[in-house]
């Protein structure tokens, strides 16, 4: 069977000693930043992107992928032990996970999260392997009109699935698109919106934007109320869940995995939405919903499976179409480009060892994560006690050297400061930063395909509705937009995220 054969190629790559090492390093770093609040995978991957110059393409991508899904594991440890989500995707785990810890069941809670994540990771790996080839075949038939419509769909659904005001998210996308267009126009060579700065001729540095908005602005947010972190549980004993625990967690893990896998593929979905949706679903399906919030094991098993599954399946649009589903995937595209590989449908055919190696490494990485997180949980408890004020000088130093290394351009350093301030301002105004970054990466691609499509059609915009695939994608976008504005759906949409507050 092709699937097995392809995964065999992948495992052959992923199990090479060097790649095993980078997979381990990635998952270790991911767990670490997952445990440490205030430092998320987006900022970390942005900072580490320059390091990957010197690595083999497949090793660097395996490591970066490990950071992303590793952070989902680490985030749950913090959520259970100190009632603070290490990652936003673990926010719902705090509700029941921390209650379990207070009842002396921190061990089973952590074990549930790890088992759920591992099952989800394994299933998601197979889903990616099965879904990638057919999608790649379709994608090879795409022309400019299809790509344009696909990106419109990606941007619209990312708004629909994000939380908070839809209008604000749309505005953030448009700002991102505009900022992405700053620089020299590829068709005419005209400098655009550079305000006379020669340094902006090549555009604003994407990594500087990501580090500013997700790294620096996050530090400022955390400085608003500095507080000590209380580690409620200092000694985790009895990791083994009981037979009843295993029985109670089985169905939620399966449901969470399926829901998470589906939501991960959607652009803009990813881990955060998946965990919230899984929690809501478990609570709805439960015969005893009143137990939720008081240490229900289903409230840990469902969301933790869902966020890990979604983190992994969100690689599908990136690997097959070259379209990022979320800011982390946008950075992964940056990593491909640094290595001289154009992400998209050709990668699977031209570099099968790379393509399948990344996919297979996810399963290997998940296995490592179980070992990293369960027997070594005591180590992470100690990491939890690192006070935050010791962390941000380190984050700033790493960001500086990381961003500067990319182009050795000092202008990029000023961009970091400017985008840090902008990111914090938007946070104060209640605007989510993720759509901006997604718009920023898609801006140039969107415009290029629009212009190409208009040249093909001799200026006739009906080309987008004359071609069936393009029409279908646009109809889906319109439907998504209409649905989220329906009053009843708008209300439901708020409810999905309400647990956070």
């Amino acid at each position: 069977m092709d699937l097995i054969q392809n995964l065999g190629i992948g495992l052959g790559t992923a199990l090479q000693p060097g790649n095993l090492f980078y997979c381990f390093l990635g998952t270790l770093l991911g767990t670490l930043i997952g445990v440490l609040p205030g430092l998320g995978p987006t900022a970390t991957i942005a900072m580490l992107l320059p390091i990957t110059y010197s690595l083999e393409p497949v090793s660097s991508l395996i490591m970066l992928a490990g950071i992303y899904y590793g952070a989902q594991y680490g985030g749950s440890t913090t959520a259970v032990l100190i009632n603070l989500p290490g990652e936003s995707s673990s926010a719902v785990t705090t509700i029941d996970g921390y209650q379990m810890a207070r009842q002396g069941r921190a061990g089973p809670a952590l074990a549930t999260a790890a088992i759920g994540s591992f099952v989800a990771g394994t299933v998601a790996t197979f889903i990616i392997a099965a879904a990638a080839p057919p999608l790649t075949t379709i994608a090879l038939k795409f022309g400019s009109p299809e790509y344009f419509s696909l990106m419109v769909l990606a941007l619209i659904t990312s708004v629909a699935l994000a939380h908070g005001s839809i209008l604000k998210a749309l505005a953030m996308i448009v700002i991102g698109l505009l900022l992405g267009l700053v620089g020299t126009d590829i068709y005419t060579g005209t400098p655009r919106m550079t305000l006379g700065y020669l340094e902006l001729a090549d555009g604003i540095n994407f990594v500087a934007v990501a580090v500013g908005i997700f790294g620096v602005a996050e530090i400022l947010r955390n400085l608003e109320n500095e507080r000590d972190r209380e580690v409620a549980v200092t000694n985790v004993t009895g990791l083994m869940p009981t037979r009843e625990d295993l029985k109670a967690m089985a169905a939620p893990i399966v449901r969470g995995t399926l829901l998470g896998s589906a939501l991960g593929i959607l652009p803009g979905g990813g881990a955060v939405l998946a965990s919230f949706a899984a929690y809501t679903m478990e609570k709805k399906l439960s015969k005893t919903p009143e137990r939720f919030g008081k240490g229900a094991i289903e409230g840990v098993a469902g969301p933790e499976s869902a966020n890990n599954a979604a983190a992994q399946t969100s690689f599908i649009p990136m690997l097959t179409l070259g379209i990022p589903a979320n800011p982390v995937m946008a950075l992964m595209i940056g990593a491909f480009i640094i290595q001289g590989i154009v992400p998209g449908p050709n990668v699977a055919a031209e570099r099968p060892e790379l393509f399948w190696g990344i996919i297979a490494s996810m399963w290997v990485g998940n296995l490592m994560l179980v070992i990293l997180n369960l027997p070594l949980v005591g180590l992470w408890v100690r990491v939890l006690r690192v006070p935050y004020y010791l962390m941000f000088p380190a984050i700033m130093a790493f960001s500086a050297i990381g961003v500067y290394s990319i182009n050795t351009n000092i202008f990029d350093m000023y961009s970091v400061a400017v985008f840090g301030a902008i990111g914090y301002l938007f946070y104060k105004l209640g605007c989510e930063p993720a759509p901006l970054l997604l718009g920023f990466i898609l801006g140039p691609m969107l415009e290029e395909h629009l212009r190409r499509a208009m040249i093909i059609s001799r200026g006739d915009p009906t080309i987008f509705v004359d071609r069936p695939i393009s029409l279908a994608l646009l109809l889906l976008s319109a439907a998504a937009l209409i649905i989220v504005f329906l009053p009843s759906v708008a209300k439901k949409r708020e409810q999905v995220f309400v647990e956070e507050d």
């Binding site: 505005a171 400085l223 608003e224 700033m396 130093a397 050297i401 212009r451 200026g459």
Partner: protein, 156 residues
């Protein structure tokens, strides 16, 4: 009249940004035609969309209860944002070691809880750690000491 000041401010900001981008585009760039879009075509469309969205947000802010803006960490903001600027201004002249030390030291003061002595210890530790990883471990080509350091016998 009740209105949500956060939403109103966001809406106003988006309108201003849209007008700014739009004017810049309209005045400096060729719009082209539908067949051959010029460099200004798409940015102008986006600017218009931004103004409309901003207006929508502003309109929606009316009759929505106001919410608190929360504390602003002015001291933290000053030191955190100063860090990358100083790093950028000194990395080529002073080199990697002093620039790293500066950004770590400056950032330390963002928190009320870090005493000067702790800041110095943190700075030394972080600088050694970063140089070990980036310069020796990963072979980063950035000079450890730049031309401004010649006076003290370092750099070249």
């Amino acid at each position: 009249m009740t209105f949500n000041s956060k939403d109103a401010a966001a809406g106003a900001l988006f309108i201003l940004l849209g007008i700014g981008f739009g004017l810049n585009t309209y005045l400096t760039l060729d719009l082209g035609t539908n067949i051959k879009m010029g460099p200004g075509y798409f940015p102008l469309v986006l600017s218009g969309a931004l103004v409309l969205l901003g207006a929508g947000i502003l309109f929606h802010a009316i009759h929505v209860p106001d919410e608190a803006w929360g504390a602003v960490p002015w001291r933290g903001m000053f030191f955190i944002l100063l860090g990358p600027i100083v790093f950028g201004a000194t990395i080529q002249g002073l080199g990697l070691v002093p620039a790293l030390a500066l950004i770590a030291f400056i950032a330390s003061f963002a928190s009320y809880r870090v005493s000067p002595l702790m800041a110095i210890a943190l700075t030394i530790g972080l600088t050694v750690f970063c140089v070990a990883i980036f310069s020796y471990g990963l072979g980063s080509p950035i000079r450890l000491f730049g031309p401004w350091m010649q006076a003290v016998g370092l750099g070249n």
